[in-house]
C-alpha cells in the first residue's frame, strides 16, 4: 500500500512538469493557433541555459529561473520574427497544419544546432539540496519535485491572472477568440502574437530548468517531452489554459499507477492508451467546451 501512495505522489509531481510544459504549448496554440512541435526543443535549450548559469556562473538553479525565462523569451521573439510571423498569415486550418510541419522542421534544426554547440553528452545539475525530501512515515516527497510542482502551479496561476486581470491579458484573450474583431478594437495583433509566443518559449525555458534539475538534458530529449505536453493539451481541451496542470497531474498519476500494477515497462503504454480512450469519449478534452 505504501508503494501505491508513493508512486501516486511521484506521478502527481512529475505530472506538474507535464502541465508546465503544456502551459507554453497551449498558450501558443490558444492565441496564435500555432502548434509548435519544437516546444520540447525550447525546453532543452532552457535546460542548457540553466546548466551554463549553474555550472559556469555558479547561480542556484531556482534563482536562475528568471534569467532562463528572459533568455528563452528572447529565443521566442527571434523564432516568431524569423518564422512564425509568416505562419500566422494563413487562415486557421492551414495555420495549424503548416505550423505542425514547420515546427517539425525546426525540431531538426534546433537538435542539430544543440549537438554542434553543446556536444551530445547529457548534462545534469546537482545541488546540495538535491537529495532533500519531506518525509511522512516512510513516504518521501523529494524537495526538488515539490518545488517544481509549486513553480508550475505558480506560473499557471500567474498566466491566468495576466489574462484575466490585465488589459494586455484581455487583448490576448480577445485575439485568441477572434483576431479580426480584436484588430477592429484597435489591438495590434502582431504584438500580441509576438509576446504570447515569447511567453510560451519563456515558460518552456523554466520547465527546462526543472528538467535539468530532476532529470538530465541532452539534445535529443525534446520530442519525448513534447509528446507528453501534446497529450496534456488535448486532455485539457485544445486552447484552454485552466485545466492544464490538473490534466498533467492526471497523466502522471496514470503513469505512476500503471508502473506499480503492470511493471515499469508499461507505464508509457498505459498512459498513451488512457489518453486515446479519453479522446474517444470526450473529443473536446476533459475541461474543454464542446466546440
Amino acid at each position: 500500500m505504501q508503494l501505491v501512495i508513493q508512486s501516486a505522489i511521484s506521478g502527481l509531481l512529475i505530472g506538474g512538469m507535464y502541465g508546465l510544459i503544456a502551459l507554453g504549448l497551449a498558450l501558443a496554440f490558444g492565441v496564435l493557433k500555432v502548434l509548435n512541435v519544437a516546444h520540447g526543443e525550447l525546453v532543452m535549450l532552457g535546460g542548457y541555459v540553466t546548466f551554463f548559469l549553474v555550472a559556469v556562473v555558479g547561480l542556484d538553479p531556482f534563482l536562475s529561473m528568471p534569467l532562463v525565462f528572459v533568455a528563452t523569451f528572447g529565443v521566442g521573439v527571434l523564432l516568431y520574427l524569423v518564422l512564425f510571423r509568416f505562419v500566422v498569415r494563413f487562415d486557421i486550418d492551414t495555420r495549424i497544419k503548416n505550423s505542425l510541419l514547420i515546427s517539425f522542421g525546426l525540431v531538426l534544426i534546433l537538435q542539430a544546432l544543440a549537438v554542434t554547440f553543446f556536444t551530445a553528452d547529457e548534462r545534469a545539475i546537482i545541488t546540495d539540496y538535491s537529495t532533500a525530501a519531506l518525509t511522512f512515515e516512510s513516504i518521501r516527497v523529494p524537495f526538488i519535485r515539490l518545488a517544481g510542482l509549486l513553480v508550475a502551479v505558480a506560473l499557471s496561476v500567474g498566466l491566468q491572472q495576466l489574462l484575466d486581470r490585465t488589459t494586455f491579458g484581455h487583448a490576448i484573450k480577445a485575439t485568441s477568440e477572434d483576431w479580426a474583431l480584436a484588430s477592429l478594437a484597435g489591438i495590434d495583433i502582431r504584438r500580441v502574437y509576438l509576446v504570447a509566443f515569447a511567453i510560451s518559449a519563456g515558460l518552456a525555458g523554466v520547465a527546462g530548468t526543472l528538467i535539468a534539475l530532476g532529470f538530465s538534458v541532452s539534445p535529443s530529449i525534446g520530442l519525448g517531452w513534447t509528446l507528453k505536453a501534446l497529450i496534456v493539451v488535448v486532455l485539457a481541451g485544445l486552447g484552454s489554459i485552466r485545466g492544464l496542470i490538473v490534466a498533467g497531474m492526471l497523466l502522471g498519476l496514470a503513469e505512476g499507477l500503471a508502473s506499480v500494477w503492470l511493471g515499469g515497462a508499461y507505464r508509457e503504454i498505459v498512459a498513451l492508451g488512457a489518453f486515446l480512450l479519453v479522446l474517444l469519449v470526450r473529443p473536446q478534452g476533459l475541461f474543454g467546451r464542446r466546440e
Partner: protein, 234 residues
C-alpha cells in the same frame, strides 16, 4: 471625410469589387445598399484593411489609409462594427467595453467614455458582469455599438446592423444611429432594408455585383422609385 476611389478587391484570383467609389462627408450618414453578395461586406473589410486592396485608394480626412494596418486605422478614428459576432462572447460586458477603448486615442478617456456609453445604453450597466455570450440579440447589438463608441470614433462603419434583429429592435438601433450622428460622429452604413435605411441616411449608393450602379440623396431615391427599381431587382 472618407473618400473611396476605384476600389478593387479580390479573394485570391476571384475579383469581387470592381472600381467602387464613394464619399462620406463630415457629420453625415451615408449608406451603401444592395442585395446579398453585392460585395458590401468585402468593401468594408477592405477599407479597414482586413482584406488586401487589389487597386484604388481609400483616404480618411485627406490622408490615404489603404497601406495602414487595421489597428492603425482605428487609431485614426475610423471604427467598424462587423456583420455578426461583433462582441467577444467569452468576456464580460464590462471587459468588452474596456477593450473597445484599447486604442491609444481612446484609452486615456476610458472611464469618461464608459459613463457616456452606459448613459446611452443603461441596460449594459445592469449586465456589466455578465458574459457577452449570454446577452439577447438586441443587447448584443447595443454592446457592439457601445464597444465601438468606446474608441471615440470620428466615423463609425456599421455592417448590416439590422441583420437578425426583431423589427422593434431595428427601429431602436436606427434611432441610436441618428443620435450618434447628432453627437458629431459620421456614419457609413451597409444595409439590405432599403425603406428604413433611406429614412435615416442623407445619401445612399447602390451596389450590385461589386459595382456602384447609382447614387442619390435619400429624398431623391425615396421619391423617385424608378432609380431604385431600375437598379435593384428588389
Amino acid at each position: 471625410m472618407l473618400e473611396v476611389r476605384d476600389l478593387e478587391v479580390a479573394y485570391g484570383d476571384l475579383q469581387v469589387v470592381w472600381g467602387v467609389s464613394f464619399d462620406v462627408p463630415e457629420r453625415s450618414i451615408v449608406a451603401v445598399i444592395g442585395p446579398n453578395g453585392a460585395g458590401k461586406t468585402t468593401t468594408l473589410r477592405a477599407i479597414m484593411s482586413l482584406l488586401p486592396v487589389r487597386g484604388g485608394t481609400v483616404s480618411f480626412r485627406g490622408k490615404p489609409i489603404s497601406g495602414l494596418l487595421t489597428h492603425q486605422i482605428v487609431e485614426q478614428g475610423l471604427v467598424m462594427i462587423p456583420e455578426e459576432r461583433a462582441t467577444f462572447a467569452g468576456m464580460t460586458v464590462g471587459q468588452n467595453l474596456e477593450l473597445g477603448a484599447y486604442a491609444k486615442r481612446a484609452r486615456p478617456h476610458r472611464d469618461e467614455t464608459m459613463d457616456e456609453v452606459l448613459a446611452i445604453f443603461p441596460r449594459l450597466a445592469e449586465r456589466r458582469k455578465q458574459l457577452a455570450g449570454t446577452l439577447s440579440g438586441g443587447e448584443r447589438q447595443m454592446l457592439a455599438i457601445g464597444k465601438a463608441l468606446m474608441a471615440r470614433p470620428e466615423l463609425l462603419i456599421l455592417d448590416e446592423p439590422s441583420l437578425g434583429l426583431a423589427p422593434v429592435v431595428v427601429e431602436a438601433t436606427f434611432e441610436t444611429i441618428r443620435s450618434i450622428r447628432e453627437r458629431g460622429v459620421s456614419v457609413l452604413m451597409v444595409e439590405q432594408h432599403v425603406e428604413m435605411t433611406l429614412e435615416v441616411v442623407d445619401h445612399a449608393y447602390i451596389l450590385e455585383t461589386g459595382r456602384v450602379v447609382g447614387d442619390g440623396s435619400s429624398d431623391e431615391l425615396r421619391h423617385d422609385r424608378r432609380i431604385l427599381d431600375a437598379y435593384l431587382s428588389m
